[in-house]
Symmetry: C2
Subunit: 245 residues, 2 copies
């Protein structure tokens, strides 16, 4: 890829910080504050512990970022407009089927993604992090290099460190063509799943895991925005044919 | 300076995180957690709000770092064994008489300092940051690049971001000769001040500001460990002579 320098400033509007199932109001507030510090503004929360979200919003000194935070019922809805979705994880290895980047190597990819469209960065709950189902919405995963004795970071601190690195003024790897929006990828996933189900591929009892695996596999394809329409048209046709027979 | 790569791992023991007049126990706990995350262990607190420090120490899940934290009555005592002392500040400009580095440019200097001796990194209180007097103990100051609308970071997040950058595995600018310990620099400052006072230089009412200015000026000299003894011997002699007359 060609390397190009361009200011991140005009692109900061393209990053969405998505907090999934956050419990502690202080952490939501801390994430919002770090976003203000580093010049990012789009905060989204998915199924927050309700009193936590209300508490954070009404806290004295709550930032403009927090006041404008959007609430969603699912990860799919929260990332629907994003062409690149990244999940954060404290785990060095678990059964990770995604590419796992360190923050140092991931941040330039995020900046490059922001140069072509909206990007979502997901943070899981304080106790359990992101679930496998959450991961299935992600193109790749990102990890902050920490000490093995204490790998798990505080949520607000993890957000701050990620945004510091993403906001770093540095060379940006120039983008490839714009990627498809998550909503299109989800449509493609659904059409594929319908086709698979209709074709007898999906074992009884394995519906959910099959769908998740499929979702992940589709995300990793890096389907371009330009091609997405074509893919959908093709798959729509296949699904229609299969379910008609 | 020659550039050299060497692992920071063996040097992490040389960094002291010094929290000055911290009020909120959650922030002391958060600083300790970030230290554990990035593999640093020496936490020092100067005049903390006492209930805050006790509260943080007794908190459930308090880290080993917190349990081993040392308490000091003054910044001078807390940095006495350090050959390099750096103050953090949210201010872009105020009447700063020190060199002000960004975290990106400061971190390699800190790593280089750690290769030759103990280094202290100071963080001020949540409301007012470090005072001018605190700054006078510092060789230079460091700033995290933040948005101008919301420059001031949460203390725990600022510590996390600094440690992330310092722990970054990267090229390290190799060190010059080892620098003098802060206790030696303070002795030199005192001897100079005694000499100045005895010589009639210090205006009545300007004692404190003169001492602070002096302290800062001495720190910026970067006196080497090898030369410190000689300097002290020389100044001791001058002071003795002046006060005897």
């Amino acid at each position: 890829m060609k390397k190009e320098k361009f200011p991140l400033r005009g692109l900061k509007d393209r990053l969405r910080i998505v907090l999934v199932r956050t419990r502690n109001p202080l952490n939501i507030g801390a994430a919002a504050r770090a976003m203000s510090n580093f010049g990012f503004s789009h905060l989204r929360v998915v199924k927050p512990y309700e009193p936590a979200f209300r508490g954070a919003r009404s806290a004295v000194g709550a930032t403009e970022v927090l006041a404008n935070a959007e609430q969603f019922g699912s990860v799919a809805d929260a990332v629907a407009d994003c062409a690149l979705v990244i999940g954060t994880t404290a785990a060095r290895r678990r059964e990770i089927l995604h590419v796992l980047e360190n923050l140092e190597t991931g941040a330039p990819l995020i900046r490059a993604g922001m140069s072509s469209g909206p990007v979502a960065l997901l943070f899981g709950s304080e106790k359990t992090g992101l679930s496998k189902q959450d991961f299935s919405h992600c193109h790749w995963l990102m990890h902050i290099s920490t000490a093995s004795r204490q790998p798990s970071m505080n949520l607000g601190q993890a957000v701050a460190v990620c945004l510091y690195e993403i906001a770093r003024e540095t060379e940006v790897v120039s983008a490839g063509p714009p990627l498809a929006a998550a909503s299109d990828l989800e449509r493609i996933t659904s059409l594929l799943y319908e086709s698979l189900a209709a074709s007898g591929y999906v074992r009884s009892g394995a519906e959910r895991t099959t769908k998740e695996r499929l979702r992940r596999m589709v995300r990793i394809l890096n389907i371009t925005a330009e091609d997405a329409e074509t893919w959908m048209g093709m798959l729509r046709q296949i699904a229609w044919k299969l379910t008609r027979v």
